[in-house]
Amino acid sequence: MTARYVLGIDLGTTNSVLAYTSLEEEEPRVELLPIPQLVAAGTVESRTALPSFVYLASEHEAGGGSYDLEWAADRDFAVGELARRQAAEVPDRTVGAAKSWLCHSRVDRHQPILPWNAPDEVGKISPVTASRRYLEHLIGTWEAAFPEAPVAEQHVVLTVPASFDASARELTREAALAAGLPEGLVLLEEPQAAVYSWLAATGDRWRRQLSVGNTLLVCDVGGGTTDLSLVAVAEQDGELGLERMAVGNHLLVGGDNMDLALAHHAAGIFAEKGVALDPWQSVALWHSCRNAKESLLAPEGPEKQSIAVLGRGSKLIGGTVSIEVDRQAVGQLLVEGFFPRCAVSDKPARRRASGFREIGLPFESDTAVTRHLAAFLQAHGREGPVCPSHLLFNGGVFKADLLRDRLLDVFRDWFGEASAPHLLSDVHDLDHAVAQGAAYYGWAKQRGGVRIRGGTARAYYVGIETAGLAVPGTPRPLRAVCVVPMGMEEGTQTDVPSEEIGLVVGEPAQFRFFTSSTRKHDKPGDVLTRWSDEELVETDSLEAELSADEAIEDAYVPVRFQPRVTELGMLELWCVSTKSDGRWKLEFSVREDAEVD
């Protein structure tokens, strides 16, 4: 079994795309796979993107094969365009944004919790299952189109946000393997995929555009999330090479927020005219606003544009209500709301702490992408903020020229006209760049070509309670031992020089687990006794169990940690006995405080 193709899969928050290239050709020619999907009951059409939505049909709808596909009979759910359309009108049966749930460690992502807050009679599914269904659809499509090249035998590159931590990556991989992707699956960070897509489009000319010492900022604002990465241009073996330096935190703010903001603005104008919109009309308004956004944000767009909410019933014209929105007001709303001018020393506003917090996705309370960007550049500079020399945009939001221009202006404000970053010529297709870049990367990995080095994007820490006298009512002080430094390379392992930790035989040992995307100088074994909430973020805890039958005589085994990053970029943490050659892998555990109702 030799692989004939590389498949690049962008499993997006709102859209998924599959690009592929043949390994048998001398030059990579990346193509998009048309994805047949249900657009209405019993109606299948091919699109280049698969909306990442699942519609869970009731049993009365599912009969009669209305949701069947060429490769799947007796379906009681639908994935793709039909599900996206249903999201508006049947929200209790439609799953969306599964990917944002996947990295939300306050819920148990194996439990059937989606659609969130749906009534019990709906057969809910877990975020992992939803992701698996999108991938199964892509695999089914591929195997119908290329029956002689089964997915399990091809090279597959699946993209994840750079901001995904180790447990979210693990869950993504789990969904991918369950769907039928091969074990040799490689996970690639999305901003890196965007860079590969640019490299593929630029060819060898990239070496003339970038030089040693340059820093490239990838600013990827997708539908639901904003993902930032810094890539440095360095000399590697006498050649220009790329190295990923830093990634940003997971920010739940993106193009969907902008559409919603515009819809709220428009709903306000309707209200002034005395028109109250019902829920169906509100959703329709949201869609109209998405359409209007691009032309309103074009530099030469019309001064005024009408936004209409079409009549619901067969009386289309009679039921339609419309308003005029002012281009300037909209520009003000979106540009100032999401890309306001700010100082590079500004920080995003934090959510005010309150006793109650609604569970659900932790959307950003500050929607200003520029302030998140400022905080990111500050966090990764040695003295003062990093001043990137080049800028690459990705994500559908940057189709709007007004937003691109504003972001460039903000950089000029921060760093001055002369040293503001230079925008890399934008030859790539913003909607499909990530999947295309992933396929190109897979080709370069097999056949040779420039690769971005990086290693782990974050440092990881295990929380250890200090021994000492217990004070009633006070938890024992916690220390964090660095086990994985930032930038640990693929295919390496290391021993953490630390005190021995005793694992009790026959009982599960739980460790709290933390990550940091900013502490780049910590080495394995370094112990932190205090840290701020922004520096270290707690993620899913880890668990190891030494079963009593492993012929261990003592009641407990002294161990040290041994982290390993596999060739495929997966992080593994092992406990290695200091007395014997026993070793146990730590697994992410279901959080005890996981909130499922």
Partner: protein, 180 residues
Amino acid sequence: MRRIVIALRVFFATLFRAQVAREVERVLSGIGQPTPAEAPRAPKPEPKKPRAPVRSDAVTLLATLQREARFVDFVKEPLDAYSDAQIGAVARDVHRDCGRVLDRLFALQPIVTEEDGTEIDVPAGFDAGRYRLTGNVAGEPPFRGPLRHHGWEATRLELPSWSGSAAAARTVAPVEVELK
């Protein structure tokens, strides 16, 4: 090696996909039974249901235009009661969405690229389906004259496929009922 891979795939697919499990059970129960002589001719299992009647492509196109652009609602509604402004507000949306459907399904392109009014040649042996001559049509081709319309042609034909029932074969838009 290939068989190991297949075996593993079957294992996981059986574990995670109920439908595959049923298929595997069916295949396994058939192992060891003599293969009927005509088996190689029809290796694919017969579908359980008879194949759904095919819907006319014209209905599929109408249904698509209605679903995505409300085309049928727009054309079927009498305009008498409405002002031009009211009609215009709707027409913008219907126009934009119809255009998107036509682009996606047919990728319409002009047949000739010249501007209207420029002199173009009509070759000898032209296809009357592709060129329509007007005015003083006489003499022998090749003809030459000013372009009055550049024509349109579909450079792609990607209509949705349909698998619904005979009863729904002529449905352009389904009845919609909201449950409270």
